[in-house]
């Protein structure tokens, strides 16, 4: 395959100003149970080549399945043919300079999840599912396992030739209780598929799904009879997945430089963040520090090279509340005068071209101690940990989220459970009201497995590291 890609790039060199090619082989395994029975047992394999060329400032990209020479050459010809007929972009910025990526890399893991017998995985899932059904009133129980392995070989007309393999594994449980004309869901360790990490089977076992199942089931049934989250303005503590999602939607997407430059207006939208906002835009309070870090251990946004051959590294996004950087590509970085790409170009498989995506966009820990310390320091408020519903406008400014469950905080203690806990805000105002972030000991990665962007659509898996954080004067009970 190395020879094929090298030949392909040689052929492209004479015909296009820039070209790159990726061979991608993907494996996916998904298992799930439903009400104590196996529900889904899927394995999916694919491989193919995607060729990208830039001619007259216009891009052409063509993807073809398999690893055949004839098909790969046809893809190159198709990419060139498409680029050639596009309206020209004579003032297109040059790509930001980048040393050619060379070498090999693989994400670390202890136990290959694809080598673990199906029976072992099923035993864990069925035990977790049984734990969920210990509570009367439960209607639907689900336990899930997921494993992904992606091998990428990348070559470019600038001399890059690198190979990497990323292995990811994880899972989660969820339970739905129905009653009183209502339905309530609880999940662990997160909703929307659970928690997946760039790790092996050991991560799935570390989640200890069976041990957490009875508590989750009890919560779901209790929610049916819990009071609804009242409407008002209060102090909000976000933790776990909900805080990770808040970072993802209101910070991560807002600082994608393609959006900032208007390139995604046709689909994902634009951003309230201006291209010249670095050092000028107050994104939040001085406690807020955010870093996009492609080197975070176990992060789903971690890699050695992005999908245009830029080495992954930590990029400051917010420092002491001020905008400090963007998620960028070689093209977008060049357009605003940055010396280097932020290394954020990622593609879903071989049949999509790389676009600006999140690496691990992490909220740096503060000094507020543990979550219990933070609750103890809060007279009155609301705690939300797990997400149920999310929506944010196309400028990443006005958002409305709802958690699966909320807990009132009264006199420094976690109080009663409330159902349908929702809140709304405006991004820089919300982050400006962040007055406490827990310390490094409570800092955890969460994963989001279905971040959609691009046309044709691409689903990306990303991680966010956060410690629980507190926000003052937030409107709650809005949905």
């Amino acid at each position: 395959m190395r020879d094929l890609l090298a030949d392909l790039i040689d052929s492209a060199q004479a015909r296009a100003g820039y070209a790159d090619a990726r061979f991608v082989r993907s494996r996916v395994e998904r298992l799930s149970t439903r009400n104590g029975r196996l529900d889904q047992l899927d394995s999916h394999e694919s491989e193919g080549i995607g060729v990208r060329v830039r001619m007259g400032g216009a891009w052409g990209f063509a993807a073809v399945r398999g690893s055949g020479r004839r098909e790969a050459e046809a893809a190159l010809a198709r990419a060139i043919a498409i680029a050639e007929v596009q309206p020209k972009v004579p003032d297109a910025a040059a790509l930001a300079a980048e040393p050619p990526a060379r070498g090999e890399w693989a994400s670390p893991f202890e136990r290959d999840p694809f080598e673990v017998p199906l029976e072992d995985k099923l035993a864990v899932l069925l035990a977790a599912d049984a734990g969920l059904r210990t509570e009367p009133g439960v209607n639907l129980t689900r336990a899930r396992f997921s494993a992904f392995q992606t091998e990428t070989l990348f070559a470019s007309t600038e001399g890059a030739l690198c190979q990497q393999r990323v292995t990811e594994c994880g899972g989660g449980i969820a339970v739905v209780a129905v009653g009183n004309g209502d339905s309530q869901i609880r999940s662990y360790p997160a909703s929307h598929g659970g928690h997946v990490a760039a790790a092996g089977y050991e991560h799935f076992l570390e989640l200890e799904l069976p041990g957490h199942a009875p508590r989750i089931a009890s919560d779901a049934v209790s929610l049916l009879g819990a009071p609804a989250c009242p409407h008002g303005t209060t102090t909000l503590i976000l933790a776990g997945e909900q805080l990770g999602l808040q970072v993802h939607e209101s910070v991560g997407h807002a600082v994608e430089l393609d959006r900032v430059l208007g390139r995604e207006a046709s689909y994902a939208g634009t951003s309230f963040v201006p291209p010249d906002g670095i050092g000028r835009l107050a994104f939040g309070s001085e406690r807020v520090n955010v870093t996009a870090d492609a080197t975070t251990p176990r992060g789903l946004g971690s890699f050695r090279w992005d999908d245009e051959g830029v080495e992954g590294r930590p990029v400051p996004i917010v420092r002491d509340g001020m905008l400090a950087g963007f998620l960028s590509s070689r093209e977008t970085a060049s357009e605003i005068g940055l010396e280097r790409s932020g290394g954020c170009m990622r593609a879903e498989g071989f049949s999509r071209q790389p676009i600006v995506r999140m690496t691990n966009v992490n909220l740096e820990p503060g000094d507020a101690g543990t979550l219990d310390d933070l609750i103890a320091d809060t007279d009155e408020g609301l705690l939300i940990e797990t997400n149920r519903s999310w929506s944010i406008d196309n400028r990443r400014l006005h958002f409305q989220f709802e958690g699966e469950a909320g807990w009132e905080i009264r006199n420094g203690e976690r109080g009663r459970l409330v159902r349908n806990p929702s809140y709304a805000g405006v991004t820089p105002e919300f982050w400006g009201r962040c007055d406490a972030i827990c310390s490094a000991g409570d800092w955890r990665l969460i994963s989001l497995l279905d971040c959609g962007k691009g046309e044709p659509g691409q689903v990306m898996r990303v991680s966010h590291g956060t410690s629980p954080a507190r926000f003052r004067e937030v409107e709650v009970g809005v949905a």
Binding site: Q40, D42, S43, A81, L118, S266, S389, H398, S422
Partner: protein, 450 residues
């Protein structure tokens, strides 16, 4: 066709009772932003899915390699998965029952299947010219595809070729105001790039200072694009047979009851002349017209084989994957019948103060059993005053029950349009909702947006 041959080969490898679905995608998409091309993607790929029932469970495997060895390996993985599944006891999947007796539907256009990039480039040029004339930026996509899909069981099979074309134009004025227009069809010839750009540009340059509305309840005129989003979400909350049989659906205990205004007639009509037709679903089941809401009364829910078995019913041809998906079946050819209003102008006429919505964005289900959703308006939101659209309106967040909105629907326009957002995740699956514009009273807005 290649897909029926590949599917038949996969079933032969997989053995008795197996089902195989092969889907080939050839597609081309051109993206543009601010009046220049930005990305273009050509895809030629195939997916073969093999599903093997075993003791009431389904083991599945998929590959995009179709040589004999790869197909045999895929079948072996599916068989291995099916047998492993049996450790959880006897399942309830009754088996596949597709015979390939689906009637052909007019889903293919030869010219569209050529996927000509020069035609696309010309479309972009047309849109840019219109945008320039109005002094606005043009953003959007132009895309065409040919999809060939074949299925097989050990008793027979079927195959179908489909094409789809989609273009959307979002025009952004120097003021930051934007307008949207899109079109979807089986044949590219039905899409007029200049006309789309013109419609989008006019909305972007609409005169007047943008008004602001406080959160509250207002009468709303929804264009078909916005109404289509609401109905598609209703498909998840209300017509999902798996959620229904598990007690989570919004229509549990409500079938046969009035759930919408009497003027609401909603069906899933896979061969409707305005939809993107399909003759069979992902389990090879024949797709037939199915009433969902008649004269405002809830009539039925959609099933795949699995949910039908759980409900003691028959599949209605709404499977999205062989053996079903965890999310359940979904109606992909929704059609809302037209009403008596001549168009959007007539719908606005009785409104003293209300909201005109071109499209909704980032819609998400908040509480499925209540059909409660939230979304923001985008690319063409206007204030209606004294019966006419008077000026732009700052975008708003809508948080309301879809069945509630349909219950408060006062009038429906005659003309239907195929509303689609042209979202193509995974293997391309083009679909949309055929619906007219409609007016609903007391729609709840919970905040500002944009």
């Amino acid at each position: 066709m290649i897909t029926d041959e590949v599917a038949a080969r996969a079933v032969a490898e997989a053995g008795p009772g197996a089902f195989a679905l092969a889907t080939r995608e050839r597609s081309l998409m051109l993206r543009f932003a601010a009046g220049r091309p930005t990305q273009s993607t050509a895809i030629d790929d195939i997916t073969v899915e093999v599903a093997i029932p075993y003791h009431g469970h389904v083991g599945r495997a998929a590959t995009n390699a179709v040589d004999d060895r790869s197909v045999a390996d895929c079948a072996a993985r599916a068989r291995f998965a099916a047998r492993a599944a049996a450790v959880s006891g006897e399942g309830s999947f009754p088996g596949f029952d597709a015979h390939g007796d689906a009637a052909a539907v007019p889903a293919f256009d030869l010219d569209t299947s050529e996927l000509d990039p020069a035609t696309g480039a010309a479309a972009l040029g047309d849109a840019f010219a219109v945008a320039d004339r109005h002094g606005v930026e043009a953003h959007g996509i132009w895309t065409v595809a040919e999809q060939e899909q074949g299925f097989a069981t050990d008793e027979g099979g079927g195959a179908e070729r489909r094409t789809d074309a989609f273009m959307k134009v979002i025009c952004i004025a120097p003021s930051g105001r934007s307008g949207y227009a899109s079109a979807t069809a089986v044949a590219l010839a039905e899409i007029a790039p200049s006309e789309l750009a013109e419609r989008a540009a006019r909305k972007a340059v609409a005169r007047g200072e943008p008004a602001e509305l406080a959160p509250g309840e207002y009468p709303v005129v929804f264009e078909p694009q916005a109404a289509g989003w609401l109905l598609d979400l209703l498909g998840d909350c209300a017509f999902n047979g798996l959620a229904h049989v598990e007690g989570r659906g919004a229509l549990v205990g409500r079938l046969g009851e009035q759930v919408a205004a009497a003027g609401i007639n909603l069906s899933d009509s896979p061969s409707n002349g305005r939809t993107l037709p399909r003759s069979f679903d992902a389990e090879g089941a024949v797709k037939r017209p199915m009433p969902l809401i008649q004269d405002g009364v809830a009539h039925g829910v959609a099933h795949d084989i699995r949910s039908a078995a759980a409900a003691g019913a028959m599949s209605t041809g709404h499977a999205l994957a062989p053996g079903g998906t965890g999310a359940g079946p979904h109606p992909t050819n929704l059609v809302l019948a037209g009403g008596g209003a001549a168009g959007e102008v007539e719908l606005c006429a009785p409104v003293e103060r209300g909201v005109y919505v071109t499209r909704l964005w980032y819609a998400n289900v908040v509480r499925p059993k209540e059909t409660l959703i939230t979304a923001v308006t985008r690319d063409g939101t206007f204030l209606i005053e004294d019966g006419t659209v008077t000026r732009p309106l700052r975008d708003l967040r809508l948080t309301d029950s879809v069945l509630g909105i349909l219950s408060r629907t006062q009038a429906v326009a005659r003309e239907q349009r195929l509303a689609s957002d042209g979202e193509f995740y995974g293997r391309r699956f083009a679909y949309g909702v055929v619906c007219p514009a409609l007016r609903a009273d007391a729609v709840r807005f919970t905040g500002a947006a944009g």
